[in-house]
Amino acid sequence: MSSGSGGEPDAGRRGVLKLGIGALGLGLAAVPAVPAIGYLLFPTGSKAGEGAFLPAGKRSAFAGAVPVRVDLYADKVDAWNKTPDVKLGSCWVLERDGALQAFSTVCPHLGCAVDFDAEAQKFKCPCHRSAFGLDGSVEAGPSPRPLDSLEVKEENGLVAIRLVRYRQGVAQKEPV
């Protein structure tokens, strides 16, 4: 089109310009938008990690069949912070047939903290009335699976427990 004939409709040329605007506009939007997808999805999908054995105290503290509640401490990395010696979770520990057994205090139903009812000799969840036997099996309530048992290690009279969190609300015991 010769310069200066702006007033006349020139549909073909304008169509090309409009197409150009659309294409360039999409490109401009993509510059932040495409990396933003990876950026915003970080770090979803990453696993919480194996869980390390954490010191739970002396073996002698767990003699007898009465469950003892133990808090487990370790360094915790939360995004940019690393906090030393943080309480990461708790578990119930009891002796059964001479061996130590540890259960996570997290109710497999919806994650409330499970108590021990000494009178009834049962673990009871205060939220939705799930009850568990000393072997962790479900005896009442909505919990879809037994209490989550945790790995126990004994060395030189000291007990260590591997703290793992499991998915709530499902029948299978899967680590989060």
Partner: protein, 567 residues
């Protein structure tokens, strides 16, 4: 289209779009009209990027640096988005200036567009305020110190102290400074800019573009619609701008992030490049004259720009009739450019500055590497506690400095560990064992000094060399064999040291056995239990750390102490 019809019937979206896009550009679309649109684009991109950054950034003095380092170095594409935001602010400053120059050149500040000129100037100032407030947010050395200068200037102006305290949230920098700067940067300034932009655009639509100085008939004939003719040029310019920004971001691998803000350090502070002219100006006005550079000259320039519509008395917009105004603005730009150039040249020729920059980069690299394992909750400079040596130093401070001195700090209840078991330390000890630097304050103070009659300085040096050769494999490599032989001869035949000290491992006598003395393994044994027979025996007073510290801690401390000697 049915969906669009449905929507249009309920919202009138077609008419609204037409209202926005249908506008005549008298005289036709031109490249020099693009700057305003490019600024709108840049502002929108900054908003999007800013929101994305806020997904990871945490505005507190303990978290700001750590979260920025995390965002930049660990989050997927975090470096890219932060870099684009950083360079985007520079681009905004550049395009603001280009826009301003185009408006001045075209005479678009003149009647009836004065109010639009003023809203534009205020928006320009807001862009600078964005830059200033955003600079501090990473809470790194550069942002911290550069902003200190800015708020310091604020406080040095008569009556400026309350304002400084308000902006800082008190007399010094801290959490409140960050939350204030954050609130300004992400809420106050964007809302203010968006509001003014609305007014600016409405006024622009009211008055239209300022066309070239041509006869009315020719303007009419050349008229083109904004959509798509001018908008195409606008979008093309945006694309060029975006391409430059992406290129710059990739080339620089995003924005710099220096080590965490350390109020106790001496960082070579410089403002961002577009403030360098003010920084340079400040060098010429000192003491009571400082206000000339901080307030009077910049203020005069601002007043001049604001008053431009009144300063310009010319009858027409023609460039030749406005030479006075144009050269005034030209002079201002020339002065800013010259000052910026001088500042850059001076810094380039300033060796101590260059050295400082190098150090700052090394420090930044170290801090960011350490931040990858997580920053301790104390935040900021506590990242250096991740450094194994710093961890060991902290252990030393907690467990050892209550009795031992190191690097001039600590108590003198026990031997000083600076240069521990070095040649100098050994010779000084033998001459004066009861000095507080050595064993004077301990029960282990029964050794008699060796006088110069018993052994000359030269002989003693040979003995010290011999003792160093006993201390282990790594030390044995650095000794003078002839001196060692001489020292051994003196030890065996002339001196009486061996009546108390054994030189073979495992043998014990009244004084400590000297085999391996000063080696990391030997120091570790001392830390565990110094009362063993071949060590300090009955005279040992040092607590036994075998149960108090872990194996690794003891070994790290031993390594640390054993390597404190100056070669």
């Amino acid at each position: 289209m049915a969906l669009l019809d449905w929507l249009d019937e309920r919202t009138g979206i077609r008419a609204a779009t037409r209202l926005m896009l249908e506008e005549d550009v008298p005289g036709g679309a031109r490249l020099r009209y693009v700057f305003g649109s490019v600024l709108v684009f840049l502002f929108m991109q900054q908003v999007v990027l800013g929101i994305l950054l806020a997904f990871y950034y945490s505005p507190s003095a303990t978290d700001a640096w750590a979260s920025t380092a995390y965002l930049n170095d660990q989050v997927t594409y975090g470096w890219f988005l932060r870099g684009l935001h950083h360079h985007g602010s520079s681009a905004m400053v550049v395009v603001v200036v280009l826009h301003l120059l185009q408006v001045v050149f075209a005479g678009a500040y003149r009647k009836p567009r004065e109010v639009n000129w003023w809203t534009g100037l205020v928006m320009g100032a807001i862009v600078l305020a964005f830059a200033l407030t955003g600079y501090l947010l990473p809470w790194d050395q550069k942002g911290y110190w550069a902003t200190q200068v800015a708020t310091g200037i604020m406080g040095s102006v008569p009556g400026g102290e309350p304002l400084q305290q308000f902006v800082q949230g008190g007399p010094e920098y801290g959490n409140l400074t960050l939350t204030r700067f954050f609130a300004l940067h992400v809420f106050v300034l964007p809302i203010a800019l968006a509001g003014l932009l609305g007014v600016h655009l409405l006024l622009f639509r009211k008055h239209g573009v300022t066309p070239p100085d041509l006869p009315e008939a020719e303007l009419q004939r050349k008229t083109q619609p904004f959509w798509p003719n001018q908008l195409f040029l606008d979008v093309l310019a945006m694309a060029v701008c975006a391409a430059v920004l992406v290129g710059l971001t990739v080339k620089t691998h995003g924005a710099e992030l220096f080590a965490p803000a350390d109020p106790a350090s001496n960082f070579v502070a410089r403002p961002e490049w577009y403030f360098l002219f003010l920084f340079q100006l400040l060098k010429y006005f000192q003491g009571p004259l400082q206000i000339v550079a901080t307030v009077l000259l910049p203020g005069a320039a601002a007043v001049y720009l604001f008053a431009l519509p009144f300063v310009d008395r010319a009858k027409s917009r023609a460039v030749r009739s406005r030479w006075a105004v144009l050269s005034g603005v030209g002079l201002l730009m020339a002065a800013v450019t010259a000052l910026t150039a001088v500042a850059i040249v001076e810094d380039n020729n300033n060796e101590s500055f260059q050295h400082g920059v190098e150090q700052a980069h090394a420090e930044a690299t170290r801090a960011r590497a350490l931040a990858r394992e997580g920053v301790p909750p104390v935040g900021g400079v506590a990242v250096f506690d991740n450094d194994p040596e710093q961890k060991t130093r902290n252990l030393f401070k907690e467990h050892c400095a209550t009795c031992h001195t190191l690097e001039g700090k600590g108590s003198e209840e026990a031997p000083t560990l600076d240069g521990f078991t070095s040649r100098e330390w050994l010779t000084a000890l033998v001459r004066n064992p009861r000095d507080r630097r050595f064993y004077g304050a301990t029960k282990h103070n029964t050794m008699e000094p060796l006088t110069t009659e018993q052994a000359s300085d030269e002989e003693l040096a040979a003995v010290a060399e011999y003792l160093v050769s006993l201390s282990g494999a790594s030390a044995a490599a650095s000794v003078d064999a002839a001196m060692v032989a001489r020292g051994k001869e003196l030890w065996d035949k002339k001196l009486e040291c061996s009546s108390c000290h054994e030189v073979e491992a495992g043998k014990d006598s009244t004084g400590p056995t000297l085999a391996g003395r000063g080696s990391p393994a030997w120091v570790a044994r001392i830390i565990r239990d110094s009362s063993q027979k071949d060590l300090y025996g009955d005279t040992a007073e040092m607590p036994k750390f075998a149960d108090k510290l872990t194996q690794e801690q003891i070994e790290a401390l031993a390594q640390f102490v054993a390597t404190r000697k100056t070669p």
